[in-house]
């Protein structure tokens, strides 16, 4: 009991010393505020999270909105953090990554006046979302299909590789689309698949990514598609070192090793974030699941000055043909 009192006394002392100043972020009236909560890896992953952040900066730039962002340290903080932003009366709160799905659901119900959006929202079958929650989903399998077509046409050895981050269903989607696309273009192609791990750290381990990539290149693979966050930085580095090819993901990663990144499967998270902020500002925000795919340029494959030389006319034609077929529905891309 005395222990408790002693600790309590000290804490009280500390409180009186430190608590005397009001923190500055007290509500500024009339300013539109956006909160963003990141997935594992956070800002600076050159991939998924950065793409979302770009969208936020774009919107901030254009509309002059205030913004704050943070990365939860532990799983339970996801929901608590969202709540804190909601309590602080942020206008839009965007969660980046499917891990926020469950927390978003419950927080959105409790704060009907705040708009929520969740990138890669993990929707349940037959689920109806509250009017203030938008689930932003991407048909990554479609884009993966297209880069699979390019990989299969580019390979000289007939062997292509895939390196995923964490071994979870979301990443299986990338893998499935990629392999289907490759087979579509070249049925005899052989594929090698690897995952970096079973913990979220698997998305943030460039050393492991490089190691796995070099292993695959050593076995005759000459194109590797990675879906592994910043782990992929290692894959791209390996491509450069081994004189082989990598395919980037989420953001356009062609610039990271010009001539060695065959293309990137671009997931326009930035667009989705930007559009969400914009829709709230102009009053067109609507809850519910919103899917982005090839048709609306939510998903794309990247061609720019860094990889022009790698994409032949024949490849360009084939990939455009596949794209049209997917949009038209004549090709149905598998998700797992």
């Amino acid at each position: 009991m005395r222990n408790v009192t002693a600790v309590a006394i000290v804490l009280c002392l500390v409180l009186t010393v430190t608590g005397c100043r009001e923190p500055k972020e007290a509500q500024t009236e009339g300013v539109f505020r956006v909160g963003m909560v990141f997935d594992v890896g956070g800002k600076g992953d050159k991939s998924f999270n950065d793409s979302a952040y770009r969208g936020l900066l774009h919107a901030a730039d254009e509309f002059g909105v205030e913004h704050t962002e943070f990365e939860p340290g532990q799983d339970a903080d996801r929901e608590t953090g969202l709540r804190k932003l909601a309590q602080a009366k942020y206008d839009v709160i965007i969660g980046v990554g499917f891990l926020f799905s469950e927390a978003m659901r419950s927080v959105a119900v409790d704060y009907p006046n705040v708009r929520f959006a969740c990138v890669d929202f993990d929707v349940r079958p037959d689920e109806t979302l509250p009017q203030n929650l938008a689930g932003l989903r991407f048909r990554e399998e479609e884009g993966s299909f297209l880069v699979g077509v390019l990989a299969a046409m580019h390979t000289e050895t007939g062997r292509i590789g895939f390196i995923g981050g964490m071994d979870i269903p979301l990443i299986h989607k990338f893998e499935a689309g990629y392999i289907a696309g490759a087979r579509h273009a070249r049925p005899s192609v052989s594929t090698t698949v690897a995952y970096t791990g079973t913990t979220p750290q698997a998305f943030a381990d460039p050393a492991k990514g490089k190691e796995l990539a070099l292993l695959q290149y050593g076995r005759g693979v000459d194109v590797i598609y990675h879906a592994s966050g910043s782990t992929g930085n290692g894959v791209i580095e390996a491509a450069k070192e081994a004189g082989k090819y990598a395919i980037g993901v989420d953001s356009n990663q062609n610039y990271m090793a010009p001539g060695h990144v065959l293309t990137s499967m671009v997931k326009r998270v930035d667009n989705a974030v930007y559009m969400t902020v914009k829709s709230v500002l102009d009053g067109t925000f609507a809850g519910g699941v919103r899917e982005f795919g090839l048709a609306d340029d939510g998903i794309a494959y990247a061609v720019d000055q860094y990889n022009e030389g790698l994409i032949t006319d024949e490849m360009a034609a084939a990939v455009e043909e596949a794209k049209a077929a997917i949009i038209a529905g004549s090709i149905v891309v598998p998700k797992e």
């Binding site: 222990n3 000290v10 430190t18 608590g19 100043r21 340290g73 608590t80």
Partner: protein, 377 residues
């Protein structure tokens, strides 16, 4: 004299915490922020509202279990680094039990899942315990390896066998509703405490408090606890006194693992109502720091876990509402922990040095006592 010793054991952690905040403040100052402001936000997050206090308790809850696990094993002289693996297996078994039964009254469902959680942890801890007792293999190596196995195994099972259909998230479906531990918001309001409904604090904290009491009772009031402490303090004397050292080691490890497994009561039964892959992110390892800071006593663990609960809760507040980078918050937290643990150690030694010569009955202090031992060598 005894009073002085007790005073020492209270004073040193408290002074260490104060020192830690001081140095942490200097770090904040070094990046050009005001320590007063940052600590103000930190403590506002933890104590500024009933919600905050609820979060402190919620964050402390799993650390109480994990800390008890480490402290309990430590009493038997074992260093159980395997809390992380044990809590994963405990949580998985708990969730599995909650998925396997279709309908059961809460009075049966909750005990069933609690037992499953404890059993899972105990099972996982018993393996390194057995290897230590039987072959003398050091438990540190084996508990670490068992962590890897547990994380990989549960991950595989969740993704490939037990995954909720139609979902991206690597998690199981929700467990039986009657096995959910109730949140405490309602009960708190009945007592006139305005805890918001959304606060995740749940009945697991009561189980944690009971576990603290149970650990204390086992250690200090049962024959087994007596034997565990004897083995931990002096295995040769324990053996000489007819205590089965190997059996005691295995039992201590088993109970230690059971405490770790009970983390599931908060994470599975109280909060998520399912097993989420990789949900812990190091609770088991934090348990080591909690136990060290708590001097491996049950009440000490409780207090240390509360301190960590304050830090975690406050850190989120700082993270959300300031531009202090997340990395710095981690640094701050780690510095606090290191200073508390190290400072605690240094202070304890200092104070003990001043107390000990006086406690020796001989006027020579330690000198002649040492000589007596020397002769026996």
């Amino acid at each position: 004299m005894k009073r002085l010793a007790r005073f020492t054991s209270v004073l040193s952690p408290v002074a260490a915490v104060a020192a830690a905040f001081l140095v942490g403040g200097l770090v904040v100052l070094a990046i050009g922020e005001s320590p007063l402001r940052i600590y103000g936000i930190l403590f506002r997050g933890a104590f500024g509202s009933v919600d905050g206090v609820g979060l402190v308790l919620f964050n402390a809850c799993p650390l109480i279990f994990a800390g008890l696990a480490v402290a309990f094993a430590f009493r038997a002289g074992l260093f159980n680094i395997g809390g992380e693996g044990q809590l994963y297996i405990g949580s998985f078994l708990c969730a599995w039990a909650g998925l396997s039964v279709s309908s059961l009254t809460p009075w049966l469902a909750i005990p069933l899942l609690v037992v499953a959680a404890a059993a899972g942890g105990a099972l996982w801890a018993s393996i390194p315990g057995f290897l230590k007792a039987r072959f003398g293999v050091h438990e540190v190596i084996n508990t670490i390896m068992m962590n890897f196995i547990a994380i990989g195994l549960t991950s595989y099972l969740v993704v490939n066998v037990f995954k909720e259909a139609g979902q991206m998230t690597p998690q199981t479906p929700k467990i039986l509703a009657s096995a959910h531990l109730p949140r405490l918001a309602g009960a708190a309001r009945a007592l006139g405490i305005p805890l918001p409904d959304a606060n995740p604090l749940n009945a697991s904290i009561l189980i944690a408090l009971a576990a603290v009491g149970l650990a204390w009772f086992i250690l200090y009031r049962t024959t087994l606890g007596y034997e565990i402490r004897a083995v931990g303090l002096n295995a040769a004397a324990a053996e000489n006194a007819g205590i089965n050292v190997r059996r005691t080691l295995v039992l201590a490890m088993l109970l230690s693992g059971a405490f770790a497994g009970l983390v599931a009561t908060n994470e599975v039964m109280g909060f998520r109502h399912r097993f989420l892959d990789n949900f812990s992110g190091g609770i088991g390892f934090m348990g080591i720091a909690v136990a060290l800071l708590g001097k491996n006593t049950p009440v000490g663990v409780l207090l240390a876990a509360l301190l960590f609960g304050v830090l975690n809760t406050g850190a989120l507040e700082v993270d959300v509402f300031t531009d202090v980078p997340r990395e710095l918050i981690l640094v701050l937290q780690a510095i606090t922990i290191i200073l508390v643990v190290v400072g605690n150690e240094v202070l304890t030694r200092r104070l003990e040095q001043r107390v000990r010569p006086a406690e020796a009955t001989g006027a020579d202090g330690n000198a002649d006592a040492g000589a007596a031992t020397g002769e026996a060598a």
